[in-house]
Amino acid sequence: MARFGSDTRPIIGRGPSLVARFLLLAALSIGLMVGDHRNHYLTTLHNLLSTSIYPVHWLVDAPFSATHWVLDNLTDREQLRRDNARLTTQVRDLQVSVQTLAAVTAENQRLRELGEATEEITKKRLITQIMNVDLDPLRHRVLLNKGQTDGVFKGQPILDAHGVFGQITQVGRYTSEAILISDPEHGIPVRVNRSGLRTIAAGTGNLNQLNLPFLTGEADIKVGDLLISSGLGGVFPAGYPVGIVTKMERNPSETFATVEAKPLAKLDSDYEVMLIWYQPPAIEPAITPPSAPSSSATTDSTALKSDSTANAKTPAASKNNKTKNNASSSSTKSNHSR
């Protein structure tokens, strides 16, 4: 910088020029971004940064959790009595509806053994609070108050009382960041409960809307259908409700139908959500199946599973590539099309 006055530092002992320092730091930032985006190398740095920023998160959240705690502790006797009565009724109702469940579960297990399909096992559940901090409003992320010290891991599924909520994207020491199923970066493998049709529900950036972009006009799906997690992809356990189809439009001139769904989980009003640890069904069967037809069936399902794993991990990316190939490389364009 030869320009007079652009550099405030004295002539003796001045380090590299402004532009040189800018280039150095910019290169460093780009290196970090590439490392973070491509290979997720930067776990240690992530950990360090999230731990050092934890006081800020804690400080902002503290008044809210304190209020919550105080209100919890100050409920009066009358309130407790009412709650108790309500919960007792609820437990009785639930017990009645659960009575047949044991028989159904046993039958299901028997049928699965007949079909040599292994069942996934939920090992542990943990209730966690959503911290009351506002992250980037353009992305659907929330911060949970459980982290590495509680055994939270990346890719862990999160449920709420009504359905699938999201999954963990970053784990810090005391906190972890979760992505909601409505984030445009997220896709969840689902199955239509009525017809068994498998597809992927992608987030749209709207809390009340999911998109099902890969369904053709002939797909067996209609408004009001329940979407449940299919368990393919290995992140979410199978059988949990995800959403209800709200819109189905077949346009004869286009290959794919326009299908939209509304998430069942209360994405915007939840305070507590549930982290679950579960064991996905083994992809390789432990015992080789005796008969030829069943063996081919197993390999088929295995191939399907691994295929959809790859699919589920990068639905947004693959979609993006597609749009990019179609409509030049302008990023604005590809984003409008979503």
Binding site: R9, L28, V60, S331, N335
Partner: protein, 179 residues
Amino acid sequence: MLQAAALNQITADDIFNIDSIMSSRSGFMHILLSTAIALLLTIVPMPHMLNMGRPDWLLLIVIYWSLNAAMVTGLTYAWCCGLLLDALVGTLIGQHALAFVLIATLAQHFQFRIRVFPVLHQAIIVLLLIVVYKFMLFWIDGIVGTAFSSWLRWVPAMIGALFWPVIVAVLDTSTRNIR
């Protein structure tokens, strides 16, 4: 790290420099405190509509110090702020850092010109800087494949520029006695 950077700068201090006074211990505290408050304001929960228009507090603070105490808060300060912001809101590590460094470089390069402008004129320059910053973030989002293109993305730039006179008033007043 910041402290070390600040100490390095002090050893090369120049008595004729206007912002050398900011390298005192008190000035350093002002910088640290304003940064911490900006970090808090960035994530304080607000109703959805206000949240969409939340100004980039930390960027405003970084611009202010880049204009007024460039010797103490070098580019490293801006870069560290960017990294902290990345960790705070959970974006790609380095995304905000890069944008912050770019803005701090621009602000430092033009600091003598911008500093003599009247405050409303400064607000227009700040608006330009925030737009460049927002575009940088938008651009990186686009490369990574998650860009959210809506006019809502540009609202905080406008509001941030409107808050510039407030930032200047508050920080100028608080640092008056050490100038």
